[in-house]
């Protein structure tokens, strides 16, 4: 059973929204009935993610890529106006003379480091790259164990999804700063026990029909990877080939999406975890049949929730359009807040944000007319 969080009416929630055309921050009032817009920030730039440091509750990082210009990272402080550019944004090492090195096309995700390492951040990029900052995101260095050691070994299995290959998920074990998980689309899930110096593949049990070998060690296509902070041995992933769960130290993923309704399937991009209950998660199924429309199956959008670790799923569509609604929700655009009951949010490629104040039971649109939404993160703060 979940532990109890502060009641919804006693807390304030902010949404950090990255879109194809800039960042938008929405600050909710008590009970989140009204939302105040702060933005747009960097209008016209693709903003893959805006992240707040949960360790200090102050540092904001934003990943931006303008159409004409190279990618960069901006930093700010909560409740401060203005952004400062990172002095050394993520960039691959320069190739040796005559070589053809890689260049970062865009920064895709941020992950704060361990609680014992204030100021440490990780960033994942497209094409797939892993970077680390030790000064709150001002200067970034490549994690050589991935960029220079693992990547060359797996490069022939790293295919480009439409925005290029991406390292989209970085998880730090809350018990151990040196224990990391990453996920690549495509490439698979990998684990490190030494802060990224060395890696091992963690893809057993995951299907990959697009690979010639049925038991490939890597090359899989996780779309999103999550670890529960209160049960760090519990991992979930929404994969190109279904929804999976892994309870370490086991290393064979179980396809919990098999218990989804057959007519809906278990294909999707995003998943969100309950902040206090490791058995509760939400997914947003998409149509992965035929030519992969990647829209709500049948034009009837719904969130599916499991409260038993994926053994069973419940459809949650009250308030969502009953038909003719072809939502697409990107991998970083579904999230939960920390209130009680939990608020669940998703942003669509059509520029809408939908909210459920009661753990998915009822939905209503809270924002419309944004550019295509790439990411939504909920920040829950005491009033």
């Amino acid at each position: 059973m979940p532990t109890t969080g502060a009641t919804r009416s006693a807390q304030r929630v902010s949404l950090l929204v990255g879109t194809r055309k800039g960042a938008f921050l929405f600050h909710g009032g008590q009970g989140s009935r009204e939302w105040r817009l702060d933005g747009p920030h960097f209008l016209g730039s693709m903003v893959n993610q805006v992240a707040l440091d949960p360790r200090d509750g102050e540092t904001l990082l934003l990943a931006a890529k303008a159409g004409h210009l190279g990618p960069t990272v901006y930093r700010s402080r909560w409740n401060e106006r203005g952004w400062a550019e990172a002095g050394r944004p993520p960039a691959f090492a320069k190739a040796a003379e005559g070589g053809s090195g890689r260049s970062v096309a865009h920064v895709f995700c941020f992950a704060p480091g361990h609680a014992s390492e204030p100021g440490v951040w990780y960033a994942g990029t497209s094409p797939v790259g892993l970077f680390r900052s030790e000064d709150g995101g001002a200067a970034w260095s490549g994690v050589a164990g991935f960029n220079d050691v693992l990547y060359p070994k797996i490069a022939d299995k790293v295919m480009e999804v439409p925005e290029g290959s991406i390292l989209h998920s970085i998880l730090v074990d809350p018990r151990d700063a040196s224990h990391l998980y990453i996920a690549l689309s495509t490439g698979g899930v990998f684990e490190s026990a030494d802060r990224g110096a060395s890696w091992r593949a963690l893809n057993r049990g995951v299907e990959a029909y697009f690979l010639p070998e049925p038991d490939a060690e890597f090359g899989h296509d996780p779309h999103a990877l999550a670890l529960h902070p209160q049960l760090p041995d519990r991992l979930y992933q929404q994969n190109h080939c279904g929804i999976y769960r892994l309870d370490r130290p086991a290393d064979i993923w179980q396809r919990i999406g098999r218990s989804m309704p057959a007519e809906v399937g278990d294909i999707g991009f995003a998943l969100a975890l309950h902040p206090r209950d490791p058995d509760t998660l939400w997914v947003f199924p998409m149509d992965g049949t035929d030519v992969w429309p990647r829209t709500s199956p049948g034009g009837r959008p719904a969130v599916y929730c499991s409260t038993d670790g994926g053994a069973s799923w419940r459809r949650q569509d009250r308030g969502l359009p009953p038909e003719h609604a072809w939502f697409s929700v990107k991998r970083q655009a579904l999230c939960a807040d920390a209130c009680d009951p939990v608020g669940v949010y998703f942003g669509t490629a059509g520029g809408e944000i939908w909210m459920s104040p009661d753990a998915g039971d009822n939905w209503a649109p809270i924002v419309r007319y944004l550019p295509p939404i790439l990411s939504v993160a909920a920040v829950t703060a005491a009033p």
Partner: protein, 86 residues
């Protein structure tokens, strides 16, 4: 030489569209600009020293495509943020 800076880079120049520089090569010019407007160079040139796909540079109307290219005292260097899609 006068360097004409396109709109997408005006956040670095506090809105200025022109600045005066002296440099003997494109690499040298970009170094001067980056010292004056920190961060600007990386937005135009990637970590492999390749001019980014949607940046074009002309010296007195002649395309300059290599950082090693010499600049023979042009009157004007024009930096263009070229078409980048919708």
């Amino acid at each position: 030489m006068i360097v004409v800076i396109p709109g997408p880079l005006h956040s670095y120049t506090q809105g200025r569209s022109r600045t005066e520089c002296e440099a003997a090569s494109l690499a040298g010019l970009l170094d001067v600009l980056d010292a004056r407007y920190p961060g600007m160079r990386f937005r135009m040139v990637d970590e492999q020293e390749r001019i980014r796909p949607h940046i074009r540079i002309y010296a007195d109307g002649v395309p300059v495509t290599s950082l090693a290219a010499r600049l023979d005292a042009p009157r004007e260097v024009l930096i263009v943020a070229a078409l980048s899609g919708g």
